[in-house]
Symmetry: C2
Subunit: 411 residues, 2 copies
Amino acid sequence: MKAGPSPEEIRRHNLGTLLRFVHLRGPASRAVLAESLGLNRSTIMALTADLTAAGLVREELPRRPGRRAGRPSLVVRPESTRVYVLAFDIGVDRLSVARVGLGGTVLDRRSADLPRGPVDPAELVTALAGAARTLVRKAGRDAVCVGAGVAFPGIVRRSDDRVVFGPNIKLYDVALGEMLARRLALGVPVTVGNDADLGALAEQLRGAGVGCENIVYLHGDVGIGGGIIVGGRLLGGEEGFGGEIGHMIVNPGGRACACGSRGCLDSEVGERTLLDYAGRVQPDGQSGRDAVRAVVDAADRGDVTAREALHRVGTWLGFAVANLVNVFNPGMVIFGGTLRDVYLGSAAQVRSMVATGALAAPRDRVKLRTAELGDDATLTGAAEFAFADVLADPLQVLARLREPEETAPVP
Amino acid sequence: MKAGPSPEEIRRHNLGTLLRFVHLRGPASRAVLAESLGLNRSTIMALTADLTAAGLVREELPRRPGRRAGRPSLVVRPESTRVYVLAFDIGVDRLSVARVGLGGTVLDRRSADLPRGPVDPAELVTALAGAARTLVRKAGRDAVCVGAGVAFPGIVRRSDDRVVFGPNIKLYDVALGEMLARRLALGVPVTVGNDADLGALAEQLRGAGVGCENIVYLHGDVGIGGGIIVGGRLLGGEEGFGGEIGHMIVNPGGRACACGSRGCLDSEVGERTLLDYAGRVQPDGQSGRDAVRAVVDAADRGDVTAREALHRVGTWLGFAVANLVNVFNPGMVIFGGTLRDVYLGSAAQVRSMVATGALAAPRDRVKLRTAELGDDATLTGAAEFAFADVLADPLQVLARLREPEETAPVP
């Protein structure tokens, strides 16, 4: 039970709210800001002045002024090339690093293939930091990095950004956030999140789920992950491990799962299972997004084995979705990563299972949708995670970054 | 995206926070309030003066003053006999109505058996209002009813307190909140919630879950219900239908469920199933809490059939708990209603299923507990629902109640 905020806390909250508005919805006139945020125009002016002085936004005449007479309202625009974050996406077979500007624009990016199999933590951090350094160098002298975020395919403890369990790339108990922050030496913390959690966040803020407060996001890569938005917030649970939908048991006694259990959604619907059913397991055990898409394409062309494989997988996916609809009463279920393709190839079966397995009341309301951000959902979510601090307290973060650095600068 | 609150909103928030503190934690000195709420003592004095003037709290010398020299700090005490709510619990075979004072004390109560089978909405409302009227009459002239809450065994739409689906007492699509409010004519709205949701709330506020922000509460009556607390808040979903754990499919193709599906937790673990396995189905199809307890007692005494019945039921209960641990990363899973007894009779099996089915990371943290409030959990939750308005904005609610009534007074 906490008392209400102090005037200073309110000012910080309002600065953050204004900055978040233009970050997520784009440039806006003072008039629009005043109406949207429920503040009067003099307050908007004062807040904008502070954010402008800090170099976070700038005010401009609108590019396409309206026809009405009189002086046009100035437009507040995020400083999207000057203020940026670093976003990292650790996929099972690919690393991506991007420089993302305030406002959400990807300014620059690098990707590299990651050989499947065990990953050495130190080598991983070296690879990520190396790519980031290149991006930072190209950013220019007056650009400022205000945060860094990592999407990781496994279980992450939110309190200290530590990777707890990453079976798909064989990474366990690694202080990834701390290691990468030290190596980057940009004076910003590195927040690490589960990839599906970040995909969910991205779809809610910038994708299919905009405007929806209750979302279940299912993400397919090698494994199946989940991210859940409840009342507009990411469900974390006690330590940030929440949303592990991939390890819901849908088929008791079913296929063995990498987690040690049986019949998890992951083991019944994951990439290897689909390829197995479709008779397309690669001789070297490798697979990937393209292999999954090839099954869906083959089914589209009438391949019976591929169709049956998708039907089997769609049955378990449908069971899981029905359960999630009953438990969460979501406005939307979003299928992302390879599950986007799997869902498109098995939608009739998924919907049929939901029709019989979900209660009428929550079923009537839910929409089943595919992710809009495509393969960039997790990277976008990592960027949003990285922006969280500066959006919560813009001036404080900027002030801290301008203090003489205690850590060594990037060479 | 909303701007920060106005000074008036902050004052209301602080009034509500102070009132909530003494409501939930009991009488507190100004010194304790100042420290707990993070406000200075002059603010606490002003807030207390306002609440005292409104008749919501009173200040007294402590009953057992400390030994330290000087004037003892006054204790702020909720006006628990003067300010009350009406709490209704609609069980499958019993109605309970209580008058609950600010601070959570049950001041008076009435219960009546409800014959199992279809219930006529008008008769139900008449029975509830009649019992309430007796309690209100006995309350005295200076007592004020500040709210009313109903726990209902089925699906309730939160936006308009409407019963959508109540298969266990055959009540469908009834504007229960509105009907009861009109009949009570006390000038307060009647909020209606799912019984398991309210049980979860009660256990979090006053029972086993105090201090825990992430709780899964499983409630057994005739059916199995669930209430979930995420980040300190009740999970509602889009329309308040969330938390229907009883209709998670745990055993695909399993026993037919009243909802039309198969293998729901409800149909695998519910009262009828347990009694069926134990060979104790009543000839008239009736059952109830006593019958469930009798099975657990028999198992305790070594009855093999009863033990096997609990083992079977415990297996599916364990599957469900494992899934919920993976999805929610809760700090606690609480078993209430008849599931309290079922869990106590099958704890080893439930724990064994959780050990194999839940991921290590969230499993390490979760505690499995039985409800502390016993059969009163749902009634207590209904009272807390009813107090919500006055705790959110104390003076406003009191002022509204003192306006000349437009509705007829209770005869």
